[in-house]
């Protein structure tokens, strides 16, 4: 019997909802092939085993309230906005072709080529145009099923979120998975049809990825919809998953100014300050000890530490805060 190919374009542009929906289909649908097409409002997405603190500028994202969300697949950090199309492909896992990225990105490249975009594969899992990355992908394998997903830069604001991806200039040590930086570009101007829209591209991609299989539109039942919303809230919107799941790390930052000598050393476990050492100038040893004591066991969050320091360090709190991130 011909296997069905179920397609869904999500109406949501909420990263937490979309990742939750993707996980739901991956965990609950044990047969058949599923394709999700989705876009998100400005957000930053980190790989499952990355250290958020090594990838993004914490004070900047907290102040701008940019969502930072942890996905279920490997790899590095990416940013999304409404000009970036995401696709998730869920199907049976073929053990004979582990990390068989070609099986998924092959049809994607073929579709883009047919539409005039000179896309080609680079490394295992990237697609480039004229050497610049337009699409990255990652996977997770579990209980005989595979989730492959990827990005496609159509007309994203490539500079918009760049400043948020400049992490601290302090020194971090961890065993977390690191990101690999690439120069990126949009594909909008490469189409033969200059009037190409993201909506039409979605249809073209669905057809290309279905490779002749009969497409069916997928709709969620009410109970499934509820479960997706629940996990969007409880998992993908939670600080514990998005930040706290960062592998343990040490952080060190110090000033070279003789007028304001400071050295901060932290050990962060599950997003919390497990150990804290602060050195200020000689006459302020007691103050440093008090601050160390108060910071102990607090979540390593900019807004939290800012409030605590305001009470303890007075006029110097902003300065000290700078050395804590």
């Amino acid at each position: 019997m011909e296997q069905s190919f179920k397609v869904m374009k999500t109406n949501s542009t909420d990263i937490a909802y979309n990742l939750s929906l993707e996980e739901y289909l991956f965990e609950h649908e044990k047969t058949g092939t599923y394709l999700l097409l989705w876009k998100n409002q400005q957000s930053i997405i980190v790989g499952k085993y990355q250290n958020v603190y090594e990838e993004v500028n914490i004070p900047a994202i907290e102040q701008a309230q940019i969502p930072v969300v942890r996905r279920n697949t490997g790899g590095g950090t990416v940013f999304h906005d409404l000009g970036n199309l995401n696709y998730s492909y869920i199907t049976d896992y073929d053990p004979g072709s582990f990390a068989g990225y070609d099986r998924f990105i092959g049809p994607l490249i073929k579709t883009l080529n047919r539409l005039g975009v000179p896309a080609e594969k680079k490394k295992h899992s990237d697609i480039v145009v004229c050497g610049k990355k337009i699409s990255g992908s990652a996977q997770t394998v579990k209980k005989g099923r595979i989730l492959h997903h990827g990005t496609l830069l159509f007309d994203a604001d490539l500079l918009g979120l760049r400043k948020f991806l400049q992490p601290t200039d302090g020194h971090i040590e961890s065993k977390a998975v690191k990101s690999v930086r690439s120069s990126v570009t949009n594909i909008k101007d490469y189409f033969t049809d200059k009037g190409m829209t993201l909506q039409r591209l979605e249809d073209e991609l669905a057809e290309g990825l279905a490779e002749g299989a009969r497409m069916e539109e997928l709709a969620l039942e009410k109970a499934a919809e509820e479960a997706v919303k629940k996990a969007a809230e409880e998992k993908y919107s939670s600080w514990d998953w998005n930040f706290g799941k960062s592998p343990d790390f040490t952080f060190c930052k110090e000033s070279r100014e003789s007028k304001y000598p400071v050295r901060v050393q932290l050990l962060i476990r599950k997003g919390y300050i497990a150990e804290c050492q602060i050195r200020l100038k000689g006459s302020e040893e007691e103050k440093a000890e008090l601050i160390e004591e108060r910071l102990q066991n607090l979540p390593y969050r900019y807004e939290v530490l800012k409030q605590v320091l305001k009470l303890l360090a007075g006029s110097e709190s902003e300065k000290l805060l700078y050395y804590l991130f």
């Binding site: 279920n72 490997g74 582990f98 990390a99 899992s125 996977q139 579990k142 977390a176 592998p247």
Partner: protein, 80 residues
């Protein structure tokens, strides 16, 4: 004397030279059953769960989270 068995890192693809053990799903001395997830590895941006193939007690975990492992290396020791 109870029998022990080494759980080794499978070669997930012909080109795989190394994977990172990203998470343990079990603790030392924990009872496991065939089909339970033991640990997760990441290689080439793929996160993959490795399951137990038989029942037993995990006598020893040989790597920490974040450590690189090569195919064939012993990752854990299982006591039947």
């Amino acid at each position: 004397m109870k029998e022990t068995k080494n759980i080794t890192m499978p070669k997930l693809s012909p080109s795989m030279e190394e994977a990172v053990l990203v998470a343990w799903a079990k603790e030392p001395q924990e009872q496991v059953q065939a089909g339970d997830v033991l640990f997760e590895v990441e290689t080439d941006k793929v996160v993959c769960e490795i399951e137990a193939t038989e029942d037993g007690v995990l006598e020893r975990l040989c790597f920490e989270e974040g450590d690189p492992i090569k195919p064939g290396q012993t990752v854990a020791v299982l006591r039947a």
